[in-house]
């Protein structure tokens, strides 16, 4: 395997702070984010030769974004595999930089799901925005009232059946992430919650309660990734892409064991490429569409054994100061989730690796290596998983 380490780095980030923007278009949010992320990097429009984006809206493509921003990129990637698309984008940018096809790219995303009243989790077939079903797989699935939360709840139900996982253990994930949100002034929900609060709240799709589910917001952002040569002259110290892996998982013609998710495959090349081990990971950004997503992802990334996720997420291990702090921005469960949240994982990992919060409780101490894992789609039907490992000098 070619040594890809220290070839590409995240050099600029910008998270659009809006959680509700009824007066803005998705392209405007992306445009504002791209400009600010380049400012953060100390770069300008003329430095950019790559554009990578994904959207839930079929019209919000790289083509339209290049038009809106009057850009003429020579590397374009519209890979759209759900919420984790941006971990795939970073991996693809790394490849292109190593191949000499790319010097500096912008990865960007936006959505106005909240102001558009999109029922991302519970809208049923309306989440596609059209009533006509494709012959397959829709016509064998959507007749039965699938919802996004339901497709994750089914996996949680079986996890409980096989391994004795409890609602209280799932709630531990929500509690830890809300604790982190309480330190993020931009987070949608900042009031601390308890395990009892979660398990005594309304059930959306059994066994998942309301706080087991991510929030719905507007929002967006941009990440600038650059070659080592460009990165050395940027404003911040580089956050290197040490390793990356991608995978998909699905029904497997009705026979695949759905209890193993894409992370079980995607983490292997990421760790192998990076040369780091699980013990080296100082913090992790784990896509938290639902609490079960986090629990299963941590198992299948190899942080604990299959079935032991319930114990692993308990007792404060996931909080800053614990053994593996996760989602230190408040995650999708409490801070923001415009529909495809993977780009925000890269941003918070970058902040932590820059030691941006030094001297405050939000900083993970001695943070040198971070892992991001994006999940897109639904665990109960088909989904993608992208793992990236990032590090500072």
């Amino acid at each position: 395997m070619v040594d890809l380490k220290h070839s590409a780095a995240i050099v600029g980030i910008h998270e659009h702070v809006t959680r509700y923007a009824p007066d803005k278009s998705e392209l405007q949010i992306q445009g504002e984010s791209v400009i600010k992320a380049l400012e953060d990097a100390g770069l300008t429009k003329k430095d950019v030769d790559g554009l990578l984006t994904a959207s839930s809206s079929s019209r919000n493509t790289g083509l339209n974004l290049a038009d809106y921003l009057d850009m003429y990129p020579s590397f374009v990637d519209n890979t759209t595999v759900g919420g984790g698309s941006f971990e795939f984008h970073l991996a693809h940018a790394l490849n292109a930089i190593v191949a000499g096809r790319l010097n500096c790219a912008v990865i960007t995303y936006s959505s106005t799901a909240r102001s558009g009243s999109v029922s991302v989790g519970t809208g049923g077939v309306a989440r596609f925005g059209h009533p006509r079903l494709e012959p397959s797989p829709d016509s064998f699935e959507e007749l039965y009232g699938l919802t996004t939360v339901g497709l994750y709840a089914m996996i949680a139900q079986r996890h409980m059946h096989l391994y004795g996982t409890t609602s209280e253990q799932l709630a531990e994930v929500a509690v830890a992430v809300r604790h982190h949100a309480s330190m993020n002034p931009e987070a949608l929900f900042r009031n601390p919650i308890t395990v009892e609060d979660v398990v005594n709240s309304r059930v959306i799709s059994s066994p998942l309660h309301l706080p087991d589910c991510c929030v719905i917001t507007d929002g967006g952002g941009a990440v600038v990734v650059a070659s080592a040569e460009v990165a050395r002259n940027c404003r911040h110290q580089p956050v290197w892409v040490l390793g990356a892996g991608e995978a998909v998982a699905h029904q497997g013609a009705g026979k695949r064991d759905l209890m193993y998710i894409a992370a079980a495959q995607s983490h292997k090349p990421a760790f192998e490429m990076s040369g780091v081990t699980h013990k080296d990971i100082d913090m992790a950004m784990i896509y938290d569409s639902f609490t079960i997503t986090v629990l299963e992802t941590l198992e299948d990334l190899g942080f604990c054994k299959k079935g032991e996720g319930g114990d692993f997420v308990s007792g404060g291990r996931l909080k800053i100061g614990g053994e593996l702090p996760i989602n230190t921005d408040g995650g999708g469960l409490s801070s923001n989730h415009p529909g495809m949240r993977g780009i925000f994982l890269l941003m918070e990992a970058t902040r932590q690796l820059r030691h941006q919060f030094e001297g405050t409780p939000r900083q993970v101490a001695d943070c040198n290596i971070a892992l991001c894992h994006g999940t897109g789609g639904a665990l109960g039907s088909r989904h993608s998983g992208g793992t990236v490992i990032l590090g500072r000098d």
């Binding site: 809208g123 309306a126 006509r132 079903l133 012959p135 797989p137 064998f140 007749l143 009232g145 026979k255």
Partner: protein
């Protein structure tokens, strides 16, 4: 027949035998003559070995609940008025799983491993939809 307000399947050449047989009260799955594997949902090639030697098999229509969720919130017309309803993956005796609803029972009585059998509800003159109900 009450008006059907849930989504209806779109039928293509490769899935037409499935829907034709649902109308006659038979649940069809596929078996590959080359590699011997069963598969669901139906398709024009064997997903395992990519051969075209696909045979339609009548399933026993019996299976067990592999996993499920009781849905309390779905804004889509046709489902909004059905909550709470049970969305499930049923594993057929032949070894393949399919999405369905568990009907004709209290949603809170459903458990993983529960034996179930297929039952059909006529949606239109052309289309009957397979569901599952507890055995016995």
């Amino acid at each position: 027949m009450p008006e059907w307000n849930k989504p209806l399947p779109t039928i293509s050449g490769e899935t037409k035998p499935y829907w034709d047989n649902c109308r006659r009260g038979r649940l069809l799955i596929q078996k590959c003559d080359s590699c011997g594997e069963y598969q669901f949902y139906p398709r024009g090639i064997c997903a395992n070995c990519w051969s075209n030697d696909i045979q339609w098999i009548t399933s026993s229509g019996k299976g067990t609940v592999w996993t499920f969720t009781v849905t309390y919130q779905n804004g889509t017309p046709g489902f909004a008025e059905d909550v709470p309803y049970v969305l499930a993956l049923v594993e057929l005796e032949e070894g393949v799983r399919m999405f369905t609803n568990i009907v004709e029972c209290n949603p809170r009585s459903v458990t993983i491993g529960m034996p179930v059998e297929v039952t059909f509800i006529q949606a239109t003159n052309q289309i009957s939809v397979p569901y599952f109900k507890p055995v016995g």
